[in-house]
């Protein structure tokens, strides 16, 4: 079978090198040309021997989430790994230490817990490691070598990535780890492969294209850089901090400027100031920070100033659960702020989408002269996926509507009412374009005005100009997958939950249910026509999302009036494919499950 779908979970204790092993594995497979999705779990405490889990899914086709069942479990520490053995499917493999140093009490060894349908491979990890490297520190690398031999993983890629990972250390460290890998590989020759886990050849990568493993936050950073970000202002907040940290290193190299401000309010204020002055400006925060920023967002909307705000959602409300994922800031992003302050809101569904939406955000902000909010979530921010970058830059460097030559004596109208409701824009430094923008309602010149007629026209302008965003080039604001035409069950989802929704749709289709899924990327303005067309095809509609109130369901049903079935989960973990699938099955049978 040529198509590959292999998911490996490595589980150990802090200090076993679990995350490092997962890192090498995912990078090696990406280097070899496979598509990879990976997500790691860290121990909750900073100190101690907490559990580390690295999950890596390797495929040839594009997939959108991790699988609930893994194909192989590697245990570096049975005391943690035993609780994950149920995650491995039948006829998958469980690899464990078969010569631990300490005497174990009954039931503390993996051999008692491997399920009858799974294949156990006991390996003397420590011994193999010590024979090859005189210490047991590289057990995590030994098991990678074992995996490589058992499943035909590309050895050359592993050697490259291992050498790369240790290149800042003394050469003997890298060499020792390569020896550990080779020793694990050699040890596997004595094992007869009894599981049915297979790896097919990688998919073909286009000429000149570059495959990179990135997290959602990393992709946001790359999108900003490729779109020519000029200014960034931020305040540290989990899980958005890494965006600022990476930009802090890269932006000065590109001649751009970054400043950590004293709070989120000054961050958004400076971003808007920079946007006003013509720079492509952005900030990044999470829910609590966005709550502080909404007053300024309103100013950006009223003064028609371009700026970009990246929001990585986490458990809420208030301080919430800073290290857990959630999707509960939709209301805040779409509606937050005083008055009718509509702005553009996008929510990518995978890492490649994070890259694209990040860059496009600057285009949209500039073209429609408005703040643009990009919603991620903690899971998407920290999840690794392979992204294929084409060699051409896909972003437009200048989307501003230029000011035509002014007649002398004619005052420049910053808020000129035009057919497409977007005014030609001068920025400080432009000759003859002097004007003042304000948070007060204003006339075309920008002078404060509280006339009812002016406020009506300006309100219309600020809202109607955004309709153009629905047709912005090269960006899927909304896309349907699965069965065409009338279907039994439609799934409407946003953000990273779309990944699990798509997998559930495919599973439902395999069970004979006519099913289709639609991702909503542009949340404001909402593509009501496209969504309405989708809903009309669906006998039942399910909206799964990681928030208690069903915020997308409310948004859609508020604008379209169609009753929707909701699936709300606020466990702090990504939605399970099985949970969505169960609801789809129930709806297909004609009744909504409780």
């Amino acid at each position: 079978m040529d198509s590959t779908d292999l998911q490996i979970i490595i589980c150990g204790s802090a200090g076993d090198g679990t995350i490092a092993a997962g890192d090498i594995l995912k990078r090696a497979m990406a280097r070899a040309g496979y598509k990879v999705i990976a997500f790691d779990l860290y121990p909750a405490e900073i100190r101690g021997f907490g559990k580390c889990v690295a999950r890596v899914r390797v495929t040839t086709e594009q997939v959108y989430s991790l699988k609930r069942r893994s194909d192989v479990l590697v245990s570096l520490d049975d005391s943690h790994a035993i609780e994950h053995v149920g995650e491995v499917r039948d006829f998958g493999a469980v690899i464990f230490e078969n010569a631990p140093i300490a005497r174990l009490r009954e039931g503390r060894h993996m051999s008692a817990h491997v399920k009858p349908g799974q294949v156990p491979y006991g390996l003397a990890q420590r011994e193999v490691c010590e024979r090859a490297t005189s210490s047991s520190r590289s057990r995590n690398i030994v098991v990678l070598g074992f995996l490589a031999r058992m499943y035909g993983l590309p050895v050359a890629a592993f050697h490259e990535i291992i050498a790369d990972k240790f290149k800042t250390k003394a050469p003997v460290v890298g060499e020792s780890n390569i020896r550990a890998f080779d020793a694990g590989f050699e040890a596997a020759t004595a094992y007869f492969k009894l599981d049915d886990v297979t790896l097919g050849p990688p998919s073909h990568v286009a000429e000149g294209a570059d495959t990179v493993m990135m997290t959602g936050n990393g992709a946001v950073v790359q999108g900003c850089l490729d779109a020519g970000i000029g200014s960034f202002f931020g305040y540290p907040i989990t899980p958005a901090t890494t965006i600022m940290e990476r930009l802090a290193v890269e932006m000065p190299k590109a001649g751009a400027r970054l400043l950590q401000t004293e709070d989120e309010i000054s961050a958004i204020a400076a971003t808007i100031g920079a946007g006003y002055a013509g720079s492509r400006a952005a900030t990044a925060t999470s829910g609590p920070g966005l709550a502080l920023m909404v007053e300024m967002l309103g100013l950006g909307v009223m003064a028609e100033v371009p700026c970009v705000i990246f929001v990585s959602q986490r458990g809420g409300p208030s301080t919430g659960m800073p290290t857990k994922t959630e999707q509960s800031d939709l209301n805040l992003a779409v509606f937050g702020g005083a008055g009718d302050a509509q702005r553009i809101v996008l929510a990518p569904t995978n890492v490649e989408g994070c890259y694209r939406c990040a860059g496009k955000a600057f285009e949209l902000a500039e073209k429609f002269q408005t703040p643009v909010v990009i919603l991620l979530d903690l899971y998407l921010s920290n999840r690794y996926e392979t992204v294929i970058f084409s060699k051409d830059n896909i972003f437009e460097p200048n989307c501003s509507k230029a000011v035509e030559k002014q007649d002398p004596g004619q005052a420049y109208q910053r808020f000129q009412l035009t057919d497409d409701f977007v005014s030609p824009r001068a920025v400080p430094g432009d000759v003859g374009g002097m004007h003042t923008v304000t948070g007060l309602e204003h006339n075309e010149l920008g002078r404060p005005s509280d006339s009812g007629e002016m406020h009506t026209r300006m309100s219309a302008k600020r809202h109607r100009k955004l309709e153009g965003a629905l047709a912005h080039g090269d960006l899927n604001i909304c896309k349907r997958f699965g069965d065409e035409g009338p279907v039994d069950v439609g799934i409407l989802a946003w953000g990273s939950t779309f990944g699990e929704s798509l997998e559930a749709m495919m599973a439902a289709q395999a069970e004979g249910i006519r099913c289709s899924a639609m991702k909503v990327v542009m949340l404001s303005p909402l593509p009501v026509d496209l969504i309405a067309g989708f809903l009309a095809d669906c006998k039942e509609v399910l909206v799964p999302e990681l928030n208690y109130e069903g915020q997308l369901a409310n948004l859609v049903s508020g604008q379209l009036g169609r009753p929707l079935s909701r699936l709300s989960r606020v466990t702090g973990a990504p939605m399970q494919v099985e949970e969505i699938l169960e609801q789809v099955r129930a709806l297909a049978k004609g009744r909504a499950a409780a």
Binding site: D90, F91, E97, N98, A99, P100, I101, A102, R103, L104, R105, E106, G107, R108, H109, S111, A112, V114, K115, P116, G117, V119, P120, Y121, G122, F192, L194, D196
Partner: protein
């Protein structure tokens, strides 16, 4: 039986599996742990020749599906080797450094292939056939129409030979003292049986003693056997079938009596009141013969497993063998044996 009695079964062959079935039937609440060095759940070793009939996936030869063990609340420990059993304390120890307790243990570890002393030097050039993995290895080594050279040819080997011939391979039998094991056939009685084998298509090589085994020269089959009279036999795979030796090393410090196998009374209990044994691993006291003796064959082994399990749960039944133990040539001139019968 007291609730939660922990029965441990070491070895999941036919005896061990039957014991597990009976234990679960008779005591629905007891804990049962089955231990095996194999990586696979219970499969019938008599089915291994099917590898040459197209079976490549071990799932096809499983006797019970994996779900069976969960349904019967049996803890199946695979890839686990027992290194010691302490009958006094009621504990056993694994090679992977775990210690567990038990109330009753039945040892069903059977036997491993015996290799005569003078051939041990050539172990690395020969292939066994005791597990699915070794069967698949042989299958992968044999080219189309390839030749297997069998040393000895016990009934397990001869059973395999039948299948090999039927599936287009060739077999050479090198006769020695273990030919037809466990049947005891005197050298001067062998003739008619060997003829029957030749009629099947097996090439029988008798006479000079085997001197050594070596790799075949380039361009020739992979193995070459050299005899004391200078003659040579070539083959792609060399497989010794010289009978079984009971697997009892881990029991040596347990305190029970051991001769060649574990010594048990007719109720299949060892000299330790908590330890039973069943199958090829035990020698059962026979009052008639006034000696401890082995019983072989699928029917016997299965019956032993059942008897042991019944006695572990309160009974005092003696094992009764199926009786018939003789090798014979049937009406159509084919060799046959009660040890080949199985479900």
């Amino acid at each position: 039986m007291a609730k939660g009695t922990h029965h441990v079964i070491i070895g999941i062959g036919i005896a061990g599996n039957r014991a597990a079935e009976i234990l679960r039937e008779r005591d629905p609440d007891c804990r049962i742990t089955m231990i095996t060095m194999s990586r696979l759940p219970f499969y019938n070793r008599y089915d291994l020749p099917k590898v040459f009939r197209g079976v490549r996936d071990w799932r096809e030869i499983l006797v019970d599906p994996p779900a069976h063990y969960d349904k019967s609340h049996i803890t199946l420990r695979r890839d686990s080797r027992v290194t010691n059993v302490d009958g006094q304390r009621g504990t056993l120890t694994f090679a992977h450094n775990e210690e567990i307790g038990f109330d009753r243990v039945v040892v069903c570890t059977g036997g491993s292939g015996y290799l005569p002393e003078d051939l041990t030097d050539y172990r690395h050039l020969m292939n066994g056939f005791a597990t699915f993995e070794s069967a698949m290895t042989v299958y992968e080594l044999l080219p189309e129409g390839g030749r297997v050279v069998m040393l000895g040819g016990d009934m397990i080997g001869l059973d395999l030979a039948r299948t090999l011939l039927e599936t287009g391979y060739r077999v050479t039998l090198v006769v020695n003292d273990y030919t037809f094991w466990p049947h005891r056939v005197a050298a001067d009685q062998r003739g008619k049986y060997l003829e029957a084998l030749e009629r099947l298509g097996i090439e029988v090589h008798e006479g000079a003693k085997l001197e050594r085994v070596k790799e075949g020269p380039k361009g020739m089959p992979a193995r070459c056997l050299v005899f004391e009279d200078g003659s040579e036999v070539f083959g792609d795979v060399v497989m010794p079938f010289c009978g079984l030796v009971p697997s009892v090393e881990f029991m040596l410090s347990s305190g029970v009596d051991i001769e060649r196998g574990l010594l048990v009374n007719p109720q299949l209990r060892t000299t330790n009141e908590r330890i039973w044994a069943a199958g090829d691993v035990c020698q059962i006291w026979s009052a008639e013969e006034n000696a401890y003796r082995f019983y072989y064959g699928w029917n016997n082994v299965r019956a032993m497993g059942e008897v042991a399990a019944r006695n572990m749960t309160g009974e005092e039944e003696p094992f009764v063998s199926i009786g018939d133990e003789d090798l014979y040539v049937d009406k159509s001139g084919h060799i046959n044996s009660p040890f080949w019968q199985h479900d």
